[in-house]
Amino acid sequence: MYNYDFLTALKIEDALYYLDRLEKVKILAGGTDLIVNIHKKSSRLPHFDYLLDISNIEELKFIALKKQFLEIGSLITHTQLIEDTLIAKYFPILKFAAQTIGSPQIRNRGTIGGNIVNASPAADLLPPLIALKARVELVSPGGKRELTLTEFLSGPYQTKLQENELLTTIKIPLLNEGYLANFQKIGRRKSLAIARLSLALVTRIDSENIFQDSRIVPGSATPYPQSFPVTEGAVNGKRTTDLNLEEIGEIIAKEMISITGKRWSTPYKSKALSALVIRALKEFISKAGTK
């Protein structure tokens, strides 16, 4: 099973060439998940004949401000997300989320593209990226297409990436004035913790202190991270002073159970998820109050 050839791509076009002409190619980037699975001969890893290393494609290592978007190359590491000034300015929520990932050793190798394509239910960057309405650009020899992350993710550890496609760019629409973003995470310990539960919350509080356009995305709560439209609807249109936080906590727990059914972890996760959404909303309300 582990009799594969190692291929190196130094340019996007080299990678596309291999993906187009060869069958059963597995793409390797930062390797923080894949190398462990290869070394352990994990049964979860499907058979492959070629391992295509893209980690040295310099074209995929950029963070750039475009007109309506911040664009992030798929090989940007978690450390680079933490240290980049554009991320700190426009999307500090991504910096906070990246800081909670693994350890310096993991953050120095693991990439934003890998975190997305690996599509773990506990992926730390997915809830904030979904809440920010991020889009992914997928390039193939035939051209390119763009999907929202919601469209791209199709199940736990599953995406709509085609065999001849490469994730090159993550595009995040810039937020207008008035938007706030918050990321919460619970792990068994502070470092190296796989999220037991996380929550990304992006919302706008308008000039009359009313919540608008709330985007609420828990992590590790559902088979793969997704928006919670019922909870979002319950928050939208409410004035910061009138929002019944306990009620929102109950609604988000019910919405989780409506997706997952009752599981062994439900008694813990419904209480903890309620607490996370209340904590995030309280932080927003106190910020709105100080304006």
């Binding site: 582990y2 009799n3 594969y4 050839d5 190692f6 190196t8 390797l28 390797g31 923080t32 190398i35 462990v36 290869i38 070394h39 352990k40 391992l51 290393d53 980690s55 040295n56 450390t79 693994g102 350890s103 310096p104 050793q105 993991i106 120095n108 190798r109 502070k190 470092s191 190296l192």
Partner: protein
């Protein structure tokens, strides 16, 4: 399964190797080059015992395939001592009793070294963050942090 030709600079010395596609950096260091100062603990990137410095950054050498890092510079614990003189961090670990069983020590030293290369005067919190990927099961963290602090305050 073709072998891959790789050039590396390890502790200042240039070498050329032909490696297997599954060969991790830790395998290259320990089995091929007999640089056994770098330890293999968990093999899944969580314990930090295998930490080395790759192009200036701390990495877990169990999470890197050697075939990925052609042309790279690697510093291992063996490269800390220069001209028979211990690195100030190594001396500080001895002076502050920061070594108990010793298994985590090479990884701790390399995480600390990576931090100081980038930030010679870190705060205590920054030191703790730099060490968050390194486990010590003798629980000697306090002495390790004190040892690193003593070097940064000069």
């Amino acid at each position: 399964m073709k072998k891959i030709k790789i050039n590396l600079t390890i502790n200042g010395k240039k070498i050329t190797l032909k490696v297997n596609p599954q060969e991790r950096l830790i395998d290259t260091l320990r089995d091929r080059l007999k640089l056994t100062g770098t330890k293999e603990g968990c093999s899944i990137g969580e314990c930090g015992a295998c930490t080395v410095i790759l192009n200036g950054k701390a990495v877990a050498s169990c999470l890197v395939f050697t075939a990925q890092i052609d042309g790279s510079k690697i510093l291992t614990v063996e490269g800390l001592e220069v001209g028979g003189k211990l690195d100030p961090l190594q001396q500080a670990f001895l002076d502050h009793h920061a070594v108990q069983c010793g298994f985590c020590t090479p990884g701790m030293l390399m995480s600390a070294k990576a931090l100081l290369l980038k930030n010679p005067h870190p705060t205590r919190e920054e030191i703790k963050t730099a060490l968050e990927g390194n486990l010590c099961r003798c629980t000697g963290y306090e002495q390790i942090i004190e040892a690193i602090e003593s070097v940064t305050k000069d």
